[in-house]
């Protein structure tokens, strides 16, 4: 698989150099890369799923390390892992129709479960669900016909790894890979169409003569607003420019091109204007499992202002932005500082930037963070491609997309493999 290696390295470089803008593009490219990784993986006769998981994890880890702030990469890697586990499980259960559960597989399950406490706090919520489940699952498997058990086991993929051992047929090997690639294709499809799914819900949220405020630029928001416009809703949009990138200008231009009544305001005027706004609709960089949002810089301020004036703060996020991790100190740890040149003219301030004063410390620091963390209590509603959700529900939504074993990729690989 040398060609995949080249692909991976190329993508890694792009990630490191921050050449890929936007979580959607990143997610899509990650999924495509993983698809080719999977297709290139040589399948052993036994434990095929484990082999797939292993190779995906190996690549995924490197991708995540390349840009730890771009959570979409990790999300997609985890989703692909989840897909592998699920496909494997469904094949196993199908194959198990005539088989008995062996005692060994039970043991495997136990060891798997014992590993769960090693997961970080981030995984605890999801993990606890899966540790709670196996006993009932066991009874389900014993009592109920397998076809009924399949949907329930979907989220506890940990069991499948061991079971795959018991059922290895050469006919199944090709089928697994094929199924996984198909599912990944579906995932890519989902990622690229999540805008439309979200935009479809626009009419349910935007009424006639509404005044909407947004900050910066997000394609999801653009599509959302335009979808409402196409449905003959007439409303007004305030766009805060989103310094220092001023993407709001771009969004404003797009909106006026599509005939929406748009007012471009400065970020500083957000507080002044928010009292006349009916709803704040913004895009997100990532949504954490606790319902907190990693968002373009400035949105925490907007969210606070919206809360002060009891204006609903709605976050649009495709499912690839849902991150299964719980944030710790996200303002700093999940943030990235951009170049000071966006704020200050180097020519003008070159003499004070980083020149040593008597103490040796530079007199002037320039802080230019990329993201803000909006705590869940400031968010009124998430609109994802599966519908609208409360911040408090996000952990559950996320559990549908990821398997608890993949939450912490690094730790898992060192200890488990």
């Amino acid at each position: 698989m040398p060609d995949t290696q080249a692909l991976v390295n190329d993508f890694l470089n792009k990630l490191k150099k921050r050449k890929i803008e936007g979580s959607q593009a990143t997610a899509k490219q990650t999924a495509e890369l993983l698809r080719s990784v999977i297709s290139q993986t040589r399948m052993p006769y036994t434990n095929q799923a484990a082999a797939l998981i292993h190779s995906v994890k190996a690549v995924g880890e490197r991708l995540i390390a390349a840009n730890p702030v771009e959570l979409a990469v990790g999300n997609v890697v985890r989703r692909v892992l989840h897909i592998v586990r699920e496909e494997d499980l469904s094949l196993t259960t199908a194959a198990m129709a005539g088989l008995n559960l062996s005692a060994e597989s039970d043991d495997e399950d136990d060891t798997d479960r014992d590993n769960h406490p090693a997961l970080s706090a981030a995984a605890i919520a999801a993990a606890s669900r899966s540790t709670l489940r196996p006993p009932s699952l066991q009874t389900l498997l014993e009592d109920v016909p397998d076809s009924a058990a399949v949907p329930h086991t979907s989220s506890s993929g940990g069991d499948s790894e061991g079971k795959s051992k018991s059922a290895d047929k050469s006919s199944r090997s090709r089928k697994l890979k094929h199924d996984v690639i198909e599912a990944v294709n579906e995932l890519i499809q989902d990622i690229s169409t999540c805008h439309e799914l979200i935009a479809e819900q626009a009419v349910e949220h935007i009424h006639q003569n509404e005044v909407i405020l947004t900050l910066g630029s997000s394609r999801t928001v653009l599509e959302f607003l335009c979808a409402a416009k196409e449905k003959k809703r007439s409303f007004r949009v305030f766009v805060a420019e989103g310094a220092p990138r001023y993407q709001g200008h771009l969004l404003a231009k797009e909106l006026v091109t599509r005939g929406l009544q748009t007012t471009l305001i400065t970020d500083s005027a957000v507080f002044a204007m928010i009292s006349r706004v009916n709803m704040v609709i913004v895009g997100a960089h990532a949504v954490m499992a606790n319902g907190g949002v990693i968002a373009p810089v400035g949105l925490n301020m907007v969210a606070l202002a919206a809360q002060k004036h009891a204006v609903p703060f709605v976050v649009l996020a495709g499912s690839h932005k849902l991150c299964p991790l719980y944030p710790h100190h996200p303002e700093v740890l999940l943030n990235e500082l951009r170049s000071p040149s966006e704020l200050l003219d180097f020519g003008e301030f070159s003499d004070c930037l980083d020149f040593g004063s008597g103490i040796g410390a530079p007199l002037l620091h320039v802080v230019n963070p990329t993201f803000d963390y909006v705590p869940p209590k400031l968010v009124s509603l998430f609109i994802t491609d599966t519908g609208g959700h409360n911040p408090s529900y996000m952990y559950r939504l996320i559990a549908d997309y990821y398997s608890a074993d993949d939450l912490v990729l690094e730790r898992r690989t060192t200890s488990g493999n």
Binding site: R236, F238, E241, G242, A243, P244, Y246, H249, L250, A252, K253, L255, V256, T257, G259, L260, Q261, T262, T263, L264, I265, T266, D267, S268, A269, V270, F271, A272, M273, S275, R276, V297, G298, N300, M301, L304, A305, K308, E331, N335, P340, E342, L343, L344, D345, E348, F349, C352, S357, A361, P362, L363, L364, H365, V366, V367, N368, P369, D372, Y373
Partner: protein
């Protein structure tokens, strides 16, 4: 009497937390009375004596008790300005004396300890004289409202003989004494005026003459000063209080109209102008702000100029200031206000009353013309409105008997004094208050570029405090860069960021210092747009927010949002970002796109008072809820200076 005294004194003489108990109450006033001589007021060690309690001036209280005994020499303001240097030159010694004297923190305490400290009394007296000089009373005003004719008569009659008498006394006394007594006299003058007008002018004059020679009997005064021994005069005083109260009620009914007239006038004027001016750029205006005059940029200058030629005679100084406003060269509430007042001063100097007109009326209308021209150039700030009101009231109160040149010099010195006391010295007092709130290791955040905050930071730096400054800026003004430049040059370590990153930097910030364009009487702080966001985030992060604002910027208007009243900036400034060629998304818009796009460049916003921890003003540090108190008391004062 006592009960009444307490009930009256308590709300007016106020000490707001954070003060050492033995700081002299009059501290701000010595400053305000000493513009030139105590030139490094900053160098005065702040620990020793500075930061005084908040004093809400107790004007009538003073006048009630004192008025009867002190010399009736009216209109202190006219001579005050001349005397200021002399007065100030003795401040250092005073401060020494203050340190020596037993702790007295407030006027109330002083009153109680008066007898025991009578030997020190006259020092204090001089202080309080200064105090009084900058805190003229309401009694005067209300009585003028009542008997305008008689007031004018008094003013016309009294000044010269009384003044000369006082001057003789001063000359006879030793120099230090002279300085002090001058102040004492000034105080006496004012009080006697008030007294004269409040109740019985005759009585005041009689009793005031002996008391009005403080240099000759300094020891006698302290008891007279406030403690108004509950004998004959006190009875008179209490009667007067009673009178005053009823009069106060009347005045309360009376006073709103002037304010409304001012506002109505200006609004009406604005509306008129709008109809004339807006046509060229009515397009592209934000629906929500159609009630505000659009921004006028420099290209309209010639048009305005020619129009002005048609409508008024203009004075070159006023014209110059107007152009500066228009071009944006002058910004900042204080700078604009000072420039305007100085231009008016020049205009007044060159003014001559046309035949068959009275100076008072003609000059007022002339000033009105100037003001409307300035409004054409840029809407007035609240502080300028206050200054104009002050000037107009001074003109209106000019005694009819004054010759033209006398009236002109009086007005000019009034303006000087306003600038000095209300802006320059007020800033110095604010500095010293605010500097006590800066500790070593602090991280101070400021937004935009406020000249008071800048002075505070530099002052604290001079004091040797170790702190870091976070300068938060926002497009399109980017004033913070200039501030940053000035601070860095002075050797302060700074962090620069933009408003959006405020949540990121706020974690480490320990204090937020903000300037204000105006503070409304509901506690709302009207300031550069973005201030509200900064205060809100600071509030959310539990960081104290200190708003630094001179008291002359307080306004009795109330406002809840930033939309009803505001100022619009140049909308085109939004689409361009200086130094960023890559931001050009809005450069080539088609007409259809432009039709839908509105650019909104707000200049100000209103910060709700919940976000403000404290307002640092020249009367000390007050909570936002105390703003109306200051506004009420202060209005009397500046109308009267």
């Amino acid at each position: 009497m006592d009960a009444r005294r307490l009930s009256r004194a308590v709300p007016r003489v106020r000490q707001v937390g954070f003060f050492t108990p033995n700081t002299p109450a009059q501290q701000p006033q010595p400053q305000s009375a000493a513009p030139s001589s105590e030139s490094p007021p900053l160098s005065d060690s702040p620990a020793s004596n500075s930061l005084s309690p908040v004093m809400i001036p107790p004007p009538r209280h003073l006048s009630d008790n004192l008025g009867g005994r002190t010399a009736a020499v009216p209109v202190p303001g006219r001579e005050n300005s001349g005397e200021l240097p002399t007065v100030g030159s003795y401040n250092p010694s005073e401060s020494v004396l203050w340190l020596d004297s037993p702790p007295r923190s407030r006027i109330g305490d002083e009153e109680l300890s008066e007898g025991a400290e009578s030997s020190l009394g006259w020092y204090r007296r001089s202080d309080s004289a200064k105090f009084a000089s900058s805190l003229p009373s309401g009694g005067f005003k209300l009585s003028t409202a009542k008997h305008p004719g008689s007031v004018a008569a008094v003013e016309a009659k009294n000044p010269l003989p009384e003044q000369s008498e006082a001057q003789k006394e001063q000359a006879s006394s030793s120099k230090p004494l002279k300085a002090k007594t001058t102040k004492a006299e000034r105080r006496a003058l004012q009080e006697s005026q008030r007294a004269a007008k409040a109740a019985s002018r005759a009585e005041a004059n009689k009793s005031g003459t002996p008391g009005g020679a403080p240099s000759s009997k300094p020891m006698k005064q302290p008891p007279q000063k406030k403690d108004g021994p509950p004998v004959a005069s006190s009875i008179a005083a209490s009667e007067r209080i009673g009178v005053d109260r009823s009069v106060e009620k009347e005045r309360k009914k009376d006073l709103p109209p002037p304010r409304k007239q001012f506002d109505d006038e200006s609004r009406g004027g604005r509306a008129k102008r709008r109809s004339v001016l807006n046509q060229p750029e009515a397009r592209n205006r934000v629906e929500l702000f159609r009630h505000l005059p659009p921004h006028k940029n420099g290209t309209q200058l010639p048009y305005l100029g020619s129009k002005f030629f048609e409508l008024h005679e203009k004075h070159p100084a006023v014209y110059k200031v107007g152009l500066q406003y228009l071009a944006g060269d002058l910004s900042g509430g204080n700078a604009r206000c000072i420039a305007m007042l100085q231009a008016f001063q020049e205009a007044i100097r060159d003014y001559s009353t046309p035949p068959e007109k009275t100076l008072t009326r003609d000059l007022t209308s002339k000033i009105g013309g100037f003001v409307s021209f300035l409004i054409e150039c840029r809407p007035l700030s609240m502080s300028m409105g206050n200054a104009i009101r002050f000037l107009k009231s001074r003109i209106a109160r000019l005694p009819l008997t004054l010759s033209e040149s006398e009236a002109k010099t009086t007005l000019c010195s009034d303006i000087d004094r306003f600038i000095n006391e209300k802006i320059v010295l007020a800033d110095k007092v604010i500095l010293r208050h605010a500097a006590t709130k800066i500790r070593d290791g602090d991280v101070l955040l400021t937004y935009g570029s406020s000249c008071v905050v800048e002075m505070i930071l530099l002052y604290a730096h001079e004091l040797g405090k170790q702190f870091r400054v976070v300068v938060v800026d926002s497009h399109p003004m980017l004033e913070g860069q200039k501030l940053l430049r000035r601070l860095v040059v002075k050797g302060l370590s700074c962090t620069y960021t933009q408003l959006n990153a405020i949540s990121y930097v706020m974690h480490k910030v320990t204090r937020v210092f903000l300037g204000a364009s105006s503070i409304f009487s509901n506690g709302t702080v009207y300031s550069t747009v973005g201030t509200a966001s900064v205060a809100m985030v600071a509030h959310a992060f539990r960081v104290p927010v200190l708003v630094c604002c001179e008291a002359y910027k307080f306004h009795e208007r109330v406002q809840l949002d930033s939309i009803c009243f505001n100022e619009l900036g140049d909308p085109d400034a939004i689409s361009k970002v200086p130094g960023r060629v890559d931001v050009n998304y809005l450069d080539n818009l088609t007409d259809k796109q432009k039709e839908n796009l509105e650019l909104l460049n707000l200049k100000y916003d209103a910060t709700p008072s919940d976000y403000i921890s404290v307002i640092v003003t020249d009367y000390g540090m007050i909570p936002p809820t105390s703003v109306p108190v200051i506004v009420r008391e202060y209005r009397k004062e500046y109308l009267l200076i």
